[in-house]
Symmetry: C2
Subunit: 261 residues, 2 copies
């Protein structure tokens, strides 16, 4: 497990920290990275402050196999991610000619044509040595600079950029997951039994998640969902079976996650 690649996500933007915008990228990336076998180990939401961005990029690129960033690569004054990544790597931030040409051709084709003005040219300006991430949603690219992958904050564009990048990422073993749950069973009842299962499968990540939801009869009710995650299919299946048996001691166990409210 220790040799498997790891990922960190940096969500860059005052709008998430102010509550204006609810992040929609963390869950998508967490899920996809797990499938690819590059588990997300940390995420940070940081403001549009150059010193913070630079220090955080440098700290995290040393600590994790991959760093993914979202946000701050548009044309306005608060879009400073690209420039900050250049400063973090100590390289010039300069117009990327191929990207400028692609964007200019795209803008010229539009009706009416769009001017590649100074603000828009910022989106063709990359750290020297960066590899553009081109996607189907826009000609303004993301980019990879060594193990730092810079993507847009708009979820539709971020996903397109990530999926363009994904085939180039070398993953470890995919993270497998099995869930069981039971209504009217509570964490305080199964905690000891779950600890015993965790002790039996130390390489797995076993989680316990209480839930509360409106029932078909209109009342509120709760239960607990147990999740086993890991890379060994046999161990994950055996732990799931043991968790099912544990829940069945206290109530009506079921496979999978509880249905959403």
């Amino acid at each position: 497990m220790t040799a498997s690649p790891t990922a960190c996500l940096l969500v860059i933007g005052n709008e998430v920290l102010s509550g204006r915008t609810r992040d929609a990228n963390l869950q998508y990336l967490a899920t996809r990275l797990g499938e690819i076998g590059i588990p997300l180990r940390e995420a940070r939401v940081i403001p549009d402050v150059p010193e913070t961005i630079i220090a955080t990029v440098n700290e995290c690129r040393a600590k994790f196999t991959h760093v993914f960033t979202t946000g701050g690569i548009g044309p306005t004054h608060d879009d400073i991610t690209s420039e900050c990544v250049a400063r973090a790597f100590g390289v010039p931030w300069e117009v990327h000619e191929e990207t400028r040409a692609i964007m200019a051709a795209d803008y010229a084709r539009r009706s009416p044509p769009v001017e590649l003005n100074a603000a828009r040219l910022r989106m063709a300006t990359l750290p020297r040595g960066a590899v553009p991430i081109r996607c189907t949603e826009t000609t303004a690219p993301g980019f990879s600079m060594a193990n730092v992958h810079v993507m847009a904050g708009v979820p539709r564009i971020m996903r397109s950029m990530f999926e363009a990048l994904a085939p180039t990422l070398e993953g470890g073993a995919p993270i497998l997951s099995r869930s069981v749950h039971a209504d009217f069973v509570y964490e305080g009842q199964i905690a000891d039994g779950l600890s015993a299962i965790q002790a039996e499968y130390p390489a797995l990540d076993l989680g316990s998640y209480p839930y509360y939801r409106r029932r078909p009869d209109g009342g509120m009710g709760g239960g607990v969902a147990l999740v086993a995650k890991g890379t060994d299919p046999t161990a994950v299946a055996a732990a799931a079976q043991a968790m099912y048996a544990l829940l069945a001691r206290f109530g009506e166990a079921a496979e999978g996650e509880p249905a959403p409210e």
Copy 2:
């Protein structure tokens, strides 16, 4: 502005990093802390790993006026936040007698009565010196340990704990916000004008956010929303007026945020 209090949020839990659970607490806390005048400056999502929790708590409690944590205070083996906070502060983690008595009375009253077993007693075990945060949703408390405020991860309980805590927090000037937007206006057009407004109001945080949404006619369309945030009502209002005039040069400006999709 530099003297105003600051906040950091630590979301503790493998389930957020695996994509199983979408965090629902960041936006709530960001919004409420802005209203109280303790702006959220950073958020981190970290795994259920003791060394990571301890190091992150210690780094962030030195860096920010307040640290809020969510998650990891239930009765199961993966609920290790409370114990880790004790270790971060270098104090014993011990049964809090008053809390034990409150929980025992609650459990005894239930029908059928619930046993205060070892797992549940963990929820009455706090770092020495912690002040419990009691809420209306459960008798298992959160707690404040100096400037670190430990809350549940379940959103309903987290909100109840935060609102119980809020009156004790000394805020700075509340963060005021004004928004304008315009359909069919794009960031590349207004970037220079917005930079000029930002230069005129350096104490404000001006943000530009493109949006895409389904229109009443069924087609997709975009536009841009501009947001001015700050503590000075006169400056915020003046900047909003200037941003409105900027958008009106290129399209049909409107006050407020665009209607959701």
